[in-house]
């Protein structure tokens, strides 16, 4: 009896926190299906907000910028970062410590300061392409996360594999692509996913680093300062659906893998 009550309380608590987390999102989605200037009264169902969203060119430019910068910056950061992790891992302890500490700097540095530092640099050297400014900034803040995703995998894999590949006649590059990289692939993939999501989510660094170019965050910020237009509700609803779908796909894959591994382990044990 006591146990059932405790369980009930636990579940209610989780439910309450989830309610807090999802209520604003649910409200946004609900109100994306009505086209009223104010939200003080429900004015009936309508797809007006979506029509407005699809007619608004600036939104789609921002979405395109966000997605393309996230894809390119995550890819470049994953390539540079993976090689960097392999290089740093093979260094002597002292040098490795120095570089690892500098690598942590952008993770520790407040976004605001990182953003301002980019702005000062780009302004000083007269680099004016807003898109490239944003791209360089995103690659830079993604790099440490990729490196620290790959590093634990390297620690788990054996150093001898690389040496064995060399002994068997591989060039260093070939040993890397044929032996080391497949071995640390899960770390590389999670680094890429992390970089992609960080890039999509970023506002502060982009706000300072880029000039004249908008991603989703900058677009929403500049619009939301002036009020609450209905097509942003529609944009949020669409974003939420896409993100939820992506997360479910990614997680189902890993949950399935986990289950398969468990089944495999059970089979081995029963033999």
């Amino acid at each position: 009896m006591v146990k059932r009550l405790a369980n009930f309380l636990k579940h209610s608590y989780l439910g309450l926190v989830l309610l807090f987390m999802y209520a604003p999102i649910a409200i946004l989605i609900l109100f994306s299906f009505t086209d009223s200037r104010t939200m003080s009264k429900w004015q009936g169902w309508s797809l007006g907000a979506y029509e407005k969203l699809f007619a608004d060119g600036a939104v789609w430019v921002a979405v395109k910028n966000s997605v393309s910068i996230a894809l390119i910056s995550a890819t470049v950061a994953t390539i540079i970062g993976t090689f960097a992790a392999i290089g740093i891992y093979s260094m002597k302890k002292r040098r490795r410590m120095v570089i690892e500490n500098i690598t942590q700097l952008p993770m520790v540095n407040p976004d605001l300061v990182t953003g301002i530092s980019f702005m000062l640099l780009f302004t000083a050297i007269g680099f004016t392409s807003g898109y490239l400014r944003m791209l360089i900034a995103h690659i830079t803040f993604n790099l440490p996360y990729v490196i620290f995703s790959v590093m634990p995998r390297l620690r788990q894999s054996s150093n001898r594999l690389y040496e064995a590949a060399l002994d068997l006649g591989c060039t260093p590059m070939k040993a890397l692509t044929k032996v080391v990289i497949p071995d640390i692939m899960p770390g590389i993939i999670s680094g890429f996913i992390l970089a992609f999501t960080l890039s999509i989510d970023d506002f502060v660094i982009s706000w300072f680093a880029a000039e004249g170019v908008q991603n989703i965050s900058i677009y929403v910020y500049s619009i939301a300062r002036r009020g609450i237009p209905s097509h942003i509700n529609a944009l949020s609803a669409l974003m939420f659906v896409v993100v939820a779908a992506l997360l479910v796909i990614v997680n189902l894959r890993s949950i399935k893998q986990e289950r398969e591994a468990e089944a495999q382990a059970n089979k081995l044990r029963s033999k």
Partner: protein, 274 residues
């Protein structure tokens, strides 16, 4: 060929885009017309306005970090005691909002809290008078907690679910009841998770400017707003740079303090989010 060569492109990139930009901040903070100057430092320190805003930012960041811990720890604890497969699916729901754009999450609260927003609609339809929620300190706190709560839950959950169950069983066998076991065994073992949770909430909370700008307006300006205003709107790069260095020093001090707490706990290896 040494393998460390593979890190060369990264090292070059790092120097160009991490080290040099930081030097630019130092330069614009302390150099004026080619001369070393402490003028901006004096401006930043002397004005009581700046110090008040800094104090307010620290207080708001501390309170929202404490609230996140208070709300988030039980969530992580309950999740970690569930069946593995149930916990995996449930924890996904707690991470999901984190993946949605930060600005859109903040915007959602604008829709709820605005004068003609959803909350007031509910209130008036139930016969209550309208309330004013926007542009208050409470609203800024609420939205900060909302935005950063997942960053508290996740590292604590990760650490809690890795705790060796035999420690807990041993405590029970030795006669500790569940409450005593929690405070003497589980809580101390979860300190690394708590510390990384605090770091991941406190630092963004103290440096935010979007939340306070959109939800707090002019009434609840934070240090981040001040810096943004100096750099972007009024173009005083020198003063803005000094203010951001002050912010950076504050963050470094808080990280150092938390690292010390972790070492004192005898736990070198911190819990990490990823």
């Amino acid at each position: 060929m040494k393998r460390s060569v593979f890190a060369t492109p990264y090292i070059v990139w790092m120097i160009m885009f991490i080290v040099i930009p930081m030097l630019f901040i130092l330069y614009s903070a302390f150099i004026k017309d080619g001369q070393f100057t402490l003028e901006y430092v004096r401006q930043a320190m002397e004005s009581p306005k700046y110090m008040n805003v800094l104090l307010r930012s620290i207080v708001i960041a501390l309170i929202s970090t404490a609230l996140c811990l208070l709300i988030g720890y039980p969530v992580a604890y309950i999740l970690s005691n569930m069946k593995k497969s149930t916990a995996a699916i449930l924890s996904m729901f707690f991470i999901l909002p984190m993946w949605m754009n930060f600005l859109l999450r903040t915007y959602a609260w604008q829709v709820v809290l605005a004068d003609n927003g959803v909350l007031n609609m509910l209130l008036t339809s139930l016969g209550f008078p309208k309330g004013e929620f926007m542009y208050t300190q409470g609203a800024v706190l609420l939205v900060t907690v909302y935005n950063f709560l997942p960053f508290m839950i996740l590292p604590i959950y990760t650490v809690l679910s890795k705790i060796d169950r035999s420690h807990i069983e041993a405590a029970h066998d030795l006669g500790a009841n569940s409450i005593k076991t929690f405070f003497k065994v589980v809580l101390p073992l979860s300190v690394p998770g708590i510390i990384s949770g605090i770091t991941m909430v406190f630092i963004p909370a103290i440096t935010t400017f979007a939340i306070s700008r959109l939800i707090g307006g002019k009434n609840v300006a934070l240090y981040g707003d001040l810096i943004e205003e100096k750099i972007v709107s009024s173009g005083s790069l020198g003063l803005g740079s000094v203010l951001s260095i002050i912010l950076l020093v504050l963050v470094i001090i808080s990280i150092f303090v938390m690292h010390r707490m972790e070492v004192e706990q005898g736990n070198e290896e911190g819990g990490t989010l990823w």
